[in-house]
Symmetry: C5
């Protein structure tokens, strides 16, 4: 899993627990019914918002997105330049022998189509459509977390309103119990806010960034395959692809090449 995600989640939870426990017993902040309203309400809203089969599949998308290592764009460019050299030197058909060494299915399918002599426009069309399909799946995963980040605070407020109505209705019976009842009523708002701001919304942000990283990698592959097929000079291929890299990575790529030289 992405290291920063783990650190952030653990740090956030520890921090909140510490903030609570330094001043009050943690038990004052745990209330099963409140958890049920906020979590249950958010899950209900998600069930209504999304088709069942997608909710099932989203778990996998999210897991992939967090655990699978995206292709390193620097390595990817080096590979594409290498293929361009092979194609220039030995002809594009020589790439066929290399496809067995390639791991990423997206790269394989691109190179394979180039080797097959598929029409360049068709190759670009098919790869772009594949890229857009992956982007859509990521967007669905992000949408789920955004959805929870939207409904958890709402059901937090619903829970607090329910608690307040009960408390106000009983106010005549035992004025001394008001403080405790109101404390419990506020718990759902606290839960909703924590679920949204410590978990759902930051995860949605990261999913979005991860998706953009993977899109960048896929764009490098697409532009690389197009350049290789059109017989571009390997140096031009490198120049074209390097423009996709953020500066920091670009430096890294140059250092790596300097070392290799």
């Amino acid at each position: 899993m992405d290291l920063a995600t783990v650190i952030g989640l653990v740090a956030g939870v520890v921090l909140i627990l510490w903030a609570i426990m330094s001043k009050a017993p943690i038990s004052a902040f745990i209330d099963g019914g409140s958890v049920a309203i906020v979590l249950g309400g958010s899950v209900s809203a998600a069930l209504i918002s999304f088709p069942l089969n997608r909710l099932m599949g989203i778990g996998k998308v999210v897991k992939n997105c967090f655990f699978s290592k995206p292709l390193d764009p620097v390595d990817l460019i080096e590979d594409m330049v290498k293929y361009a050299e092979v194609a220039r030197r030995d002809g594009i058909l020589a790439l066929e022998n290399l496809t067995s060494e390639i791991k990423d299915p997206f790269v394989i399918s691109g190179i394979q189509m180039a080797v097959d002599g598929t029409d360049p426009e068709l190759i670009e069309g098919i790869l772009m459509a594949e890229l857009e399909a992956v982007e859509d799946r990521h967007a669905e995963g992000k949408a789920l977390f955004d959805n929870i980040g939207k409904y958890a605070p709402a059901f937090g407020m619903v829970g607090t309103l329910i608690g307040l109505v009960i408390m106000l209705g009983n106010m005549g019976d035992d004025p001394g119990a008001i403080g405790g009842a109101m404390a419990v009523a506020l718990l759902t708002t606290l839960y909703g806010s924590l679920i949204a701001n410590l978990i759902a919304l930051p995860l949605a942000d990261k999913l979005g960034l991860r998706s953009r990283e993977e899109m960048m990698s896929k764009m490098i592959v697409i532009k690389g395959v197009m350049a290789i097929q059109s017989g571009d000079n390997p140096r031009i291929v490198e120049q074209k692809l390097t423009t996709f890299l953020p500066h920091s990575l670009r430096q890294k790529g140059e250092d790596a090449r300097a070392e290799a030289a």
Copy 2:
């Protein structure tokens, strides 16, 4: 009806009822006047927002959207590939005999125009316009639910303000009644929040997703008809159309074909 919608709605309602009834009689949460303000206000706002004839028609759009099963994109692609094979083998006119077997009117009209030798650009134009018209109708349905999701909380607040003004005006008369009056005043905010977050907004989300699914199916039909008319190789047709599928469905399609083989 979509299963997840039913589960979500039932689960949400049961959950809220349980949360209330475990601590207080349900009667404390029912107030006819409060229901009238929130529901009546939202319906009034919807009547002002939308033309009458559309409000009437929206019920049908929504029903269709929830109950009608959208075309399975995997089956659809298989069908389009089959038509491409027939067109390649027996000529495009041979598709005329197949139109009687097709159920979806959108597919029929596309194939029929291809058989009639209509100009490809015109076919694409007409089918795209049809697609956009369907998209607009879905958007209208979604807009109604978004509208209710916007006005229900607003009239919830209006109701609470009315209740507070009444309560504060009577404060001198009977201080003991304040708690109860305020509890009732808060009910409209609770109703508004539940209508918006448990019903209207999640349903709007699902309508949006459903619409996108149907748009995807229609796009597959459009691209398929265009490919068939231009005499594409059935394998190319399949490759082009498969890119519209999410990965999970793509796998499913491949499994189905493997079994068939």
Copy 3:
């Protein structure tokens, strides 16, 4: 006036009045100063936001938009098909005789330019510019209502803050008067919320929908004139234009034609 708008406005006002009067005298909810702050503040903000001559003109735009009956798109298509038939049969110049029967100036100017043999691109350019100008005027009307819907709640809050500051400053003098003073302070928030959510925002929504309907009619005219001038077959003209219709209207059009046949 649009029927749903009247029903919605009357129903909303009656409902709120009933909700108030069933529990308290209506006089407790009327306060001249509060009305002045909310209405006056919103009008002041609108005066600053918009140029004076536009504010003057907007009344007319809004009235037109609510009272003028937009062209029925089904009738419009029938007319355009009829013109296409005439043009095909008797030549495009024969349309000149028909322009005296046409009522809508937009249709007249389109047909007239086609008869004059104006360059198709120029016709489309002029009609599209006209369409965009109408769209802009509608958008200005909508912007005014959106503006009021934004500032009315803001000045409602300003009024409540003023009331609270006065009340808190006098708290020492007569603690018994707090309830009443706070009730009055809350009235501005109530007014602002009602003005926004019962009047301004729903009317803005409807103006937007009305505008889109009129744009649809104008698009039908533009596409129809272009098709007529290029000598399209009347059946093709009908097919092209029908795609602009929502399904319900499409059915209606087919029924009408079936009856006519």
Copy 4:
């Protein structure tokens, strides 16, 4: 200055003062420290948000925008039609003599380039770039007011929180002073809300509208110069340019021409 802006600002201020003074001495609403927090905080945020040299220049942009009279689009079209007539009758070089009569530098530079026989595409490019540059400057002015409209309420809340913390900390000392302290604490929220909703946000709205009006005038000049250079018939020039006018102005233009005839 734009009349509606003055009326709106004066009316809003008078109204709020009257609302206050009819019920309490105005002194209860004036607190130097509160003004300092809200104004100072907003100015600080603006200083951080914008580069210093732009903040300096924005005053001028805003003044220009409010005080300079934009070219009347009706007069502008009449002028362009007149130039088109001259160009048709006496050749485009004859326009050179007219440039001394023209006041607006934008019109002069367009006509001059046409006279110089500059390539039409280059003329359009240069004038469009000028238009976009003016639009950017207006957008900067609008951004400043939007910025103040965003930060003033935020620092209003900051001030109220500071006031509440002080008040709550002293609560034990003198319970009778709570009312007054809280009244003062609320003043910053009131100030922030008034600065945003009575001044900053409406002025931002008007700046946006003013900018669009000037863009319309500039578009008329650009399209007019292009039409003149391509030797369009003056009637066609008028027809093309009139489509930029809102209907009300269009009528006015026709009346003016009718009178002139």
Copy 5:
């Protein structure tokens, strides 16, 4: 560092401190636990939202953005005009000797490619891609500050809720301590609001403006290199590039040239 940023930050902090200290000891506004919740929570959310290596790199991007002086667009245009003159007079290869005098690597790479006779379309493509990559990096820096501006108030509210729950739970024990406990509870909301509105959001705004300034400079370079390579007249080059300048700078450029003449 940008002067306005320093002035704004110092002025804002001094102002808030003065507002506090004029009425209460500053110690009443300092609470380590509250700082920990707001800062810690925001940092945790940022860690979850962004990949670790980007968080590391963002510091550098931000520093560059604040401290590095962007190329003065007026000087830049003068330089590009000078290169255009050289290229016209001595041929484009003569620019090679000038590259050693140029400091900005972006200008060097553009001129170098022009000298090398690289295809104009490729030059534009490579420089535009570089520009977009820089824009993306700036957007990442801005996204971090926007992120903090979003989560700081959220964790401020979380802290206040925790404080309120603790306070309400202890209400029975010592009613006299309520004021102080509530004051402390409100501190986190105050901190969150200050972090967002005095630091994070204004800095995000300025980063956005800085980025746009740098984009303007880079666009001037790109358009200038394209014009030089196509052999444009130096006066045309100047005219084309000047349109990118805001008016104030344009005046300055003309003054500078007038002095030089």
